[in-house]
Symmetry: none
DNA sequence: GATGAATGAGGATTCATTCAT
DNA sequence: AATGAATGAATCCTCATTCAT
């Protein structure tokens, strides 16, 4: 429950950092279901250490991505302040959101909650990114730039979906697709 | 390679039909990665029979969905003839395409070719649906209703992506999202 | 549920026989909790084969010992017919029972039902040996050679307990101990 | 080897006491094979502390039960003095012995020396309880109440065996069984 | 002395795939 | 052609024990 605490002992801190880095790398290669052994080996620790730090796989996945997710959520404020209009802010922030999703392979799984494994990730999404998106979406709606019945959830979900498998396919440009999607959402 | 032939012996024909039905049912329940054993059991045959008819999993997946895919591809012609404008035809045909994707759990894997397993499915997509989509997209471009630099591939891919995990999430309406996407694509 | 069926295919029959023998041998050496791997290796089969034939460990344990247990249960009739008095029959049959327990290392677990693992063994005991014992005990009670309030269960349980770890300890003679126990039970 | 000394530093004394209490509690719940971690956690100390105080598990088990064992051994003298006859003393003392075994889950392992883990416990038995039993048995033999060839070891071992798993099984009364055993030992 | 992080051996179990029957 | 037994790699997870802090 709540944010993972930074360990106090130096060896534990080192292990944890190595694990996060190794897991992030493995996730890119093999997805969030990468074998625990592979992660441990890459981090140069034993499997037991993985389990000590992250008792369940979702714990690890969440920890790996929390930083980036927090950063993205924080950017929403900046975008709102900077953009000439709320819709511009939305476009700018969605750019960050898309960057997050296409570079961090596996993060998109966060959005679809179909299997039980991604539940924790989904929760992270709901708790952090959704509120950020809601702020911008609401502003755009109040400015009359988005339909009033559109929810932040469906906007972010749609964008997230458009990012699936974007890296692997050079014939598909997720950012361009998201551009169309946003254009279709815009009022007037 | 190429279309699976219908077996000549009656018992083989029966096995094949039972397998297709069983696989379709299992795919709905457990996804396209459903254990071979489960499929064989549901079909009332041995696992060896599964491998005889469908040497690889994609062979089975393709066989299961080929019929519907063919039907969807054929609908393109009808839509083009019926729709007042090519864009209307596109909208109508995309409706069929979306129906196919959201009801046949696992068919979306057809679009992403990331892991080796979906190669055959992806091929099916490239061979059947893409040409169908290209016809409509080209027509819409010639009518000035779609940007000239848009490819049928990216359109179908985007739409396909928007359908991921749609069934499982009542807060997300894939058809609505696809509507925004198409609206964003429309010229004028 | 019920008796394990003999497989029809020759390779399966061979595997099953090899497994039963190997398991029996391993049980002697390492107890009924012997690693599945060790049993498989000794039988010259893969671990998967163990699981195919005996999905759970108790299934294997029961199968290993069922034969001997059946034999012992059957001996009750013979003893009753042979013995001059019911108590003599009891003594004779208990001799067989003790032989079974001290030679088949791990079979004593049959009596205690503390952990879930021995449930199946305990059931085997209740279904086969207990009825056999009850026949003799009842006869002895009717002949006035045993207290009327004694149950076959407590008699067999006591005897079984006395057999714990008998092999390993040369300073302790289970048969002698059982002799004292029976002597203490005898009336007059 | 030999008796564990009481530590001098106050914190060490506190740790040791907490560990003994925690271990006793865990042993009741989970048996003498309770995870070291669980014991340490209950005592509110680190696992390292467990190993410092009790290098091996038997060391801990012995320490936990030494008190009760000493008490039981001491009772032999009292019983001998009190009982009308040596056999009465034996019966009385065995009552204490049985109480010890059935209430202290896992202490029965003291009697069987099959695996290496219980070596220390077995030694405790040989050093403390066996001499106590020998005193009474010898007295009973001299009074002609026990066969002269019976050893205290086999008497205590038999009784100990009869106590296995007594708590868990309401259909089996260890004390009653021990009563039969003693009755069978009695001469005349 | 105390701590608890790290280790890694050990054991269980599943399932895709091959191949004897 | 059909069967399903056999295989064993792959993966998970636990826990006793050591050792750096």
């Amino acid at each position: 429950m709540g944010v993972q605490r930074e360990p106090v002992r130096s060896d534990a801190r080192r292990s944890r950092a190595a694990l996060l880095e190794a897991a992030a790398a493995e996730f890119v290669t093999a997805g969030v279901d990468a074998p625990v052994r592979a992660i441990a080996a890459r981090a140069g620790v034993g499997v037991g250490t993985v389990y000590r730090h992250f008792p369940t796989r979702p714990d690890l996945v969440v920890a790996v991505y929390r930083h980036q997710v927090e950063g993205c959520a924080a950017a929403a404020r900046t975008c709102l302040d900077a953009g000439p209009t709320p819709f511009d802010a939305l476009v700018a922030w969605v750019g960050e959101f898309v960057d997050l999703l296409v570079t961090k392979h596996g993060l998109v799984a966060m959005l679809v909650h179909d299997d039980g494994r991604s539940a924790a990730l989904h929760e992270l999404f709901l708790e952090r990114l959704l509120p950020a998106g809601e702020g911008i979406v609401r502003a755009a709606q109040e400015a009359g730039q988005l339909p009033s019945d559109v929810t932040a959830y469906e906007v972010l979900r749609g964008i997230g979906n458009l990012c699936f498998g974007a890296e692997a396919d050079s014939a598909y440009d997720a950012r361009r697709a998201v551009g169309f999607f946003l254009a279709g959402l815009r009022v007037a």
